[in-house]
Amino acid sequence: MSKLSQKHLLGIKDITPQDIQLIFETADTFKDVLNRPIKKVPSLRDITIANIFFENSTRTRLSFELAEKRLSADVVNFSASTSSVKKGETLLDTVNNILAMKVDMVVMRHASPGAPHYLARHIKANIVNAGDGTHEHPTQALLDAYSIREKLGDIAGKKVAIIGDILHSRVALSNIFALQKLGAKVMVCGPPTLLPKFIAQTGVLVETDVRKALEWCDVANVLRIQLERQQIKYFPSLREYALYYGITKKILDDLKKPIVLMHPGPINRGVELSSDAADSQHAIILDQVENGVAIRMAVLYLLAGSAN
């Protein structure tokens, strides 16, 4: 018998290491369910979940929707591009209108950092943050840590390097919190312009040479260059970035040690990862996607489980 310490999953910062362990243990059983001939359980059959996406997403949204359907929840989808948000409705009004239709849980992605935290103060439904601007993306961090645990057995004491566009990445921040809570050593690596100014205050190591970072780490989590969030030029060209920070199979083979290669997707092939590296035996990128459904099932199940 066990329960999360929070009513919402807004960010990894707010949850305890025990919460993360509980989510992992629950995800183990759901992963088992997903490998059965009938991949569905009736646990959330009386629950309605709204997936509210104010930003584009393929993987996360599909993964959440599958997780919800595998738990037998009723699902409604909402994307900002086709809605009244374009007509000038506020966030709170939009969500309150959806909740008035008797929705129990909200999965939300929003471009503004803190948007789900704001909602959590004003509405009763459970909220799962599916990414808020450049702030946090908790379920991604959970599935990344879960994939490391699955591959290496344990997270405590492991060295994880997060490489790429740290400045614009919500995945980086959530990963730092999650990995540190589980006892891993974390390093961030990227061009100085893409490293946040005070990132070292979170207790991570900072490196600008990608080869040194790869030499150091057991796991490399490579992030996408988020061109859509960059209003100014942070580096001369994508080609130059690929030349200095792109990871190829040759670099990995030269390391003379096993390394686990991760990427939250979508990959810019030929920029942060070359095709031969992304498809090499080092990569667990598709395992991450598979684990994503189990982790999201666990989060939804645990949040919904506590009686209101």
């Binding site: 018998m1 629950t26 569905k40 646990s43």
Partner: protein, 181 residues
């Protein structure tokens, strides 16, 4: 809190032997028979019965663990969600004669959930239910066991406590606990 002993170690052994004989009488060749222990507490009993049966008939019988947590009907009605346990079914259920094993039969709701959970793995030819303790007069659903260790008349406020050596207890003992004063 008052405790009353229902079964002690020796009597439990005799009871389990009798249950095994009853199963043999019904299953005879054991060709399609499998044993499924219900998580979390039924698996210990299932292991004991499994060991005894294999010794008696000198044949291997497939043994599995079934968890019904996600199929329960009290999800969101209790304070804390029940933690799921491992499901281990290393055989195909389709067409098998399944003996479901649990320690205590009370309202019948767990067994109902277990039947649902089992159907997700295939369509068994037959399902039987073995329980060590049948708490009579407490059923919420029309569920009856096929093999019963001991029938006990209980109040819904009372509790049945099963202590097995396999669970780390010193001796096999089954207690009836009075929660009232």
């Amino acid at each position: 809190m008052q405790k009353k002993l229902i079964l002690d170690s020796d009597l439990l052994d005799i009871t389990l032997s009798r249950l095994c004989q009853q199963i043999i009488e019904n299953h005879q060749s054991f060709e399609e028979s499998v044993i499924l222990g219900l998580q979390p507490r039924g698996i210990f009993l299932a292991e004991i019965i499994h060991k005894k049966l294999e010794k008696l008939i000198r044949k291997e019988i497939p043994l599995g663990y079934l968890d019904a947590t996600f199929h329960r009907d009290d999800f969101r009605r209790r304070e804390i969600p029940v933690k799921a346990s491992e499901v281990r079914i290393p055989f195909i259920i389709e067409g098998k004669k399944v003996i479901l094993v649990d320690d205590v039969l009370f309202t019948g709701r767990t067994v109902r959930a277990a039947l649902d959970a089992m159907i997700a793995f295939g369509r068994p030819a037959k399902v039987e239910l073995l329980v060590l303790i049948d708490r009579k007069h407490n059923r919420d659903l029309p569920i009856a066991p096929d093999y019963v260790g001991r029938t006990v008349n209980t109040l819904s406020t009372q509790k049945v406590l099963v202590e097995l050596e396999a669970q780390g207890h010193e001796q096999n003992k089954i207690w009836l606990i009075n929660n009232k004063d």
